[in-house]
């Protein structure tokens, strides 16, 4: 199976501090991979590094391969040509990702003008089609609206429309529905899922929400403390987790259809450490019941198909 995107040894640092550490994974063409992690896990930085959108002061090294190109070594001008065309991203908060002083019509037309060289009229026509495809009600009248005049769900549909405009090979979606209500979330996830299928796009869905990943993705990557600690087919990772962190995360999901065992919510002890405060070796060892002196050394990500970075897997 060919890979649409390959990340190898990706490390992101701020000053001397490594906040993403040696991340390696591939995205199978047409597949849907979920990248799970909490705040500080490095999941968003991983996506931004792939996009070449890291903030000033943050540097990435390693390799990010999209076809023949190594994105980390491309000059900004060539990256600009790729972004929004072959590689696109949907952000969590559409209110900050959309331009507040630009009409919706101009924003959805922009990818067609920049990447396809269409005229204003042609681009607007394509933009309108796109808004209809993402099921914006009364799309024609929304062309002249500004982002603040739309609801949160509509704004996220616009974001998805812009990202999908040029039928990208790879779509990164960073917490695309976290800011939305559950009923709207369900609709937006349906939409995302349908478009990704229609365009045969490769999806990397970044979220802290395990149930969402289990519903949408066929593969899962679990990040903690800047490292990938578990990777594998979604059914296997959720059904038989190997890393104690993944197991802990699954247990924290309260059941909806039955009582809580002992009427207690299941927690992972301790807190997610701040940047630079994760222990050396396995980053989870200070919260892990199975940790011992061996965990001072970082375990490699091992296994066939279903991998975990743990000396004492579940």
């Amino acid at each position: 199976m060919s890979e649409a995107l390959r990340v190898r040894g990706l490390t992101v640092s701020v000053g001397g501090l490594e906040v993403v550490r040696g991340v390696t994974f591939g995205l199978e063409r047409g597949g849907r991979t979920g990248l799970i992690g909490e705040s500080g896990s490095g999941k968003t930085l991983t996506a931004l590094a792939i996009m070449g959108l890291l903030a000033e002061g943050l540097t990435a090294r390693g390799e990010v391969r999209l076809g023949e190109e190594d994105l980390l070594r491309l000059p900004e001008r060539r990256l600009c040509r790729l972004r929004g065309d072959r590689l696109a991203m949907v952000f969590q908060e559409p209110m900050t990702a959309l331009n507040p002083v630009m009409r919706i019509g101009d924003q959805v037309a922009e990818p067609f003008r920049v990447h396809r060289g269409l005229s204003r009229r042609e681009a607007h026509a394509r933009g309108l089609e796109l808004l209809e495809r993402v099921r914006i009600q009364d799309a024609q009248s929304k062309l002249g609206a500004y982002p603040h005049q739309l609801s949160g769900g509509q704004r996220q549909r616009v974001m998805i429309a812009i990202a999908m405009a040029c039928s990208p090979e790879v779509l990164l979606a960073d917490e695309p529905t976290t800011a939305l209500d559950v009923t709207v979330q369900a609709q937006v996830l349906d939409l995302l899922s349908r478009l990704v299928d229609e365009e045969r796009c490769t999806l990397l869905l970044i979220t802290h929400d395990l149930p969402v990943v289990s519903q949408l993705c066929d593969r899962v990557l679990v990040m903690y403390g800047g490292r990938i600690v578990e990777a594998g087919p979604a059914g296997e990772v959720f059904g038989r987790p190997l890393h104690p962190y993944t197991g802990g995360l699954i247990e924290t999901i309260p059941p909806l259809d039955e009582e809580l065992p002992g009427r207690r919510f299941r927690a992972i002890p301790g807190v997610v450490p701040g940047a630079g405060e994760f222990p050396a070796g396995c980053p989870f060892r200070n919260r892990c019941a199975r940790a011992d002196e061996r965990c001072v050394e970082m375990p490699p990500l091992t296994g066939d198909g279903h991998q975990a970075a743990c000396w004492h897997p579940l």
């Binding site: 909490e38 559950v182 289990s214 087919p233 999901i253 207690r264 919510f265 992972i268 807190v271 997610v272």
Partner: protein
């Protein structure tokens, strides 16, 4: 309009009602907000945030309020706290002094805590403001212990703590004046999933330990499901379904409750 908020000096602890007595009596509550004027010659619009809401809250009871954004959950909390005046209907508090006995915890502990105050001052502020006498140092130690913070936290500032610990500070402050009702508005939504359970268990423990009535506002039905005896389901400012939590989760009556329950993504363990 009949707003009855307990006034005067804090009632002594001994003067409490027997457990189970009705504390809050909410009847036909309504609140409208005027929208900013958008046209010079047209009257500004208004939005109805809460309409026709009635319920009782008894001592020691836990009530969940669920609904999506714009459903009126937060306005309801503000009306209970006396931070908003109702346009119609009434909120009656039958305990002692509402300002002392009804306390709140909000979603984002980072913005709910004064960054320039030490934890000790934050936690004890309600006692100072409400002129509650007593051994402050002993009370502080008691409160920090009750919420699972180390005694050394007292001299530190909020930014030195993680999100979960900041929420513990906010809870300690809410508990300081020995409230009988705790209003928690999305108390874990801003926290990492791995630490949410710690705060939820803490709320459950405190409720039992201090005989608190809890009003838990959440968009997350799975949280309400396990923490609350009764639930109000709100939509567009109105309560569309109310009742025993288990009954509602087992057999939701209102179409919207069913939609809400069906929309929650469940963990799928097998592909396909």
């Amino acid at each position: 309009m009949n707003v009855q908020v307990g006034a005067g000096l804090p009632a002594p602890r001994g003067g409490r009602d027997a457990s189970g007595a009705v504390l809050f009596e909410v009847r036909d509550l309504a609140k409208r907000f005027r929208l900013p004027r958008t046209r010079l010659l047209r009257a500004p619009g208004a939005v109805t945030a809460v309409r026709g809401v009635s319920f009782d809250l008894s001592a020691g009871e836990s009530l969940g309020v669920v609904g999506e954004s714009g459903s009126g959950k937060t306005t309801l909390v503000r009306l209970l706290l006396g931070l908003e005046r109702p346009d119609a209907g009434s909120v009656a508090y039958h305990g002692g002094a509402l300002r002392r006995e009804v306390q709140a915890v909000f979603q984002d502990p980072a913005s709910a805590l004064d960054p320039r105050m030490r934890v000790a001052d934050i936690v004890l502020e309600p006692l100072r403001v409400l002129h509650i006498a007593g051994d402050r140092r002993a009370r502080l130690a008691e409160l920090l212990d009750a919420v699972g913070l180390p005694a050394a936290a007292a001299g530190r500032y909020p930014h030195e703590f993680s999100g979960g610990q900041r929420q513990r500070i906010a809870i300690a402050r809410a508990l300081a004046p020995r409230p009988r009702v705790l209003l928690a508005d999305e108390p874990v939504s801003a926290l990492d999933v791995s630490v949410r359970a710690q705060i939820l268990n803490l709320l459950a423990d405190l409720r039992a330990g201090f005989d608190l009535a809890l009003v838990l506002v959440s968009h997350d039905l799975s949280v309400v499901r396990h923490l609350c005896d009764r639930v109000l389901v709100m939509l567009g400012g109105e309560v569309v379904e109310a009742g025993d939590t288990r009954a509602i989760f087992r057999a939701p009556q209102h179409e919207y409750t069913r939609t809400l329950l069906a929309a929650i993504p469940r963990l799928r363990l097998r592909p396909g």
